[in-house]
């Protein structure tokens, strides 16, 4: 929390995106017994999963186990998780009628199981580490709703914007409204920080990103209107990073394709940065991981910085390598290793 506020810290805090995930043996056990959205919708399970990496890996923050696609579900769009394929939306949004019919009322009540999971988790964490709540950015949710599932490039989502800009904005506005209700309820339930994930930021040009993503993210962050810190993570944002500096976020999450020096220059060292370890590096040796973590922190510096991965941890990472990552941050001594 101090790193987010820009206060002096002894060392950078560390957590990992998807830290409550398949690389943990205890998670895999629960996974064998419960379907994906059962785990998400059961507050006791969500709490149990959220807390796992705190005790087992030693990260400095918890992030509530959930999924960004609970928002389309709350809007009455069917979302199923297909083993080995990822999320599938059997009836993708294509028409004005479908958009008109989307539910945007009582979103917080419809996602009450999330608020219950937050209450349970806060009790369980007992103030040891802060709890982060999250949501998808409207553009990323829009991508899934139009495309009907995952994609390399979300061509259909972009096509929809260019061919039907009015409908695209109508849909993005509805997702934004739903997300604001959802996040306000999470804040009220007690999360200590919010992270917005714009996982598919990188499929738009920076100019089109302004039109189809940026304004909606600004609206969400503005609507929260709170002293609660907001971390905004836009994967593959590239040259669009400069558009994010005045988005209103407390911190920006970065993937590994953005060099630390470029990110610091673009954000004029005025904002906390989070990231950006290539997750596949956790599949190499602990020695390599430690060296690369040192390079990473040399690059970002220890202040206004939160060590993290540049994307979610991979399911096949050995637990000891995840621990090596966290320990390398905790044991970092400035000046050791090469400047990355």
């Amino acid at each position: 929390m101090r790193a987010l506020r820009g206060e002096k810290v002894e060392r950078p805090p560390v957590w990992m995106m998807r830290q409550a995930g398949r690389y943990l043996p205890d998670f895999r056990k629960l996974r064998a017994e419960h379907e994906f959205f059962d785990r998400v919708q059961n507050p006791e399970l969500a709490c149990e999963i959220t807390v796992m990496p705190i005790r087992q890996i030693g990260v400095d923050a918890a992030i509530l186990f959930s999924d960004i696609l609970v928002i389309p579900q709350a809007m009455n769009v069917e979302v199923v998780m297909v083993e080995g394929k990822g999320p599938v939306i059997p009836n993708p949004i294509r028409t004005k009628k479908q958009i008109d019919e989307l539910v945007t009322a009582d979103i917080a009540q419809r996602l009450d199981y999330v608020m219950k999971a937050i209450t349970l988790t806060l009790n369980e964490l007992n103030g040891d580490v802060p709890l982060i709540g999250f949501a998808g950015a409207p553009w990323t949710i829009f991508c899934y709703m139009i495309e009907g599932g995952g994609s390399k490039t979300f061509d259909k989502a972009r096509q929809f914007c260019f061919a039907e800009p009015e409908l695209a904005h109508q849909l993005l506005s509805k997702i934004t409204d739903a997300t604001i209700q959802y996040l306000k309820a999470k804040v009220q339930a007690g999360v200590q920080a919010i992270q917005l994930f714009d996982s598919w930021a990188g499929v738009l040009s920076p100019e089109d990103y302004k039109t189809y993503s940026l304004q909606y993210n600004k609206k969400i962050i503005g609507a929260l209107n709170t002293s609660l810190p907001v971390i905004f993570f836009a994967k593959d944002i590239g040259f669009g990073l400069e558009n994010l500096t005045d988005i209103g976020a407390t911190a920006l999450g970065l993937d590994w394709t953005i060099p630390a020096d470029k990110a610091r220059a673009i954000t004029q060292n005025k904002i906390t940065l989070q990231g950006n370890f290539d997750p596949t590096k956790l599949l190499a040796s602990p020695k390599f991981i430690t060296e690369e973590v040192n390079k990473m922190i040399n690059g970002f510096g220890t202040q206004r910085y939160i060590a993290n991965l540049g994307h979610g941890i991979l399911p096949n990472v050995p637990v000891e390598n995840a621990i090596a990552f966290v320990e390398a941050v905790k044991n970092y001594k400035s000046g050791v290793g090469n400047v990355g």
Copy 2:
């Protein structure tokens, strides 16, 4: 060719990546009758397909119909094209033994059908437009060989680099050697320009890109050692663009995530740029396409510039929209439309 050499032109030339593709009805007819690699390996068919967009769409350059994965095939790696899925390599490279066994001798002879297709195509084109030959950058070929097919993020390829750097470099060197032989033969067969495709440049951090891609591309361009222009296209290169300015290429191809002003600033206006229309914009109206093309050329300027897409044309683009794109470039008048 003049735009590549940096000479004054009346208007920017225009072609489209994958211009000899599925959006053309005549291509779809041939596709129904011949398997993918049959079309690639049959010089008459490859020639017929290459010439199609010249007469039917009016582009200013031809690019030989082929595939970057002919290189692994020539190295004795099986590659199959699976309908609706893309390329599959049934036995991905994972071991030193597999790398040792890869063939790197007589690559040009093994790909003799390409040289025959070049001869036929040059006859057919009769000097009306230049013929571009292409190859994949070693990093991109490596990605497919390790991963065993397409991927969103090529995690296995990156993992292999970080876990087995020596083997990775051994494999990249072999691919580089094969590619140099192949491209030298293409030059000898008469292509007037070369394009190197580093389609998966964007999955590496700029620092790791230097280690695992840049040096091999430099080696290839250096080995050609010719006055023939080389266009280097690295998709999603982002902040790594500055590493490409001294790669030795005549032109850099850009995707739509790199703004024209940033690209001109980074390359100090010293190099020809090619790109960067979002291919999904070709699925909107011809009016929208014309407006967006004007914005694009306003951004890049008419000199040292080749109009193109930022990635391959999509199979579902209406032919009239592809023509609208080409016509918009040909009819461009500076100062019309907004600066992009």
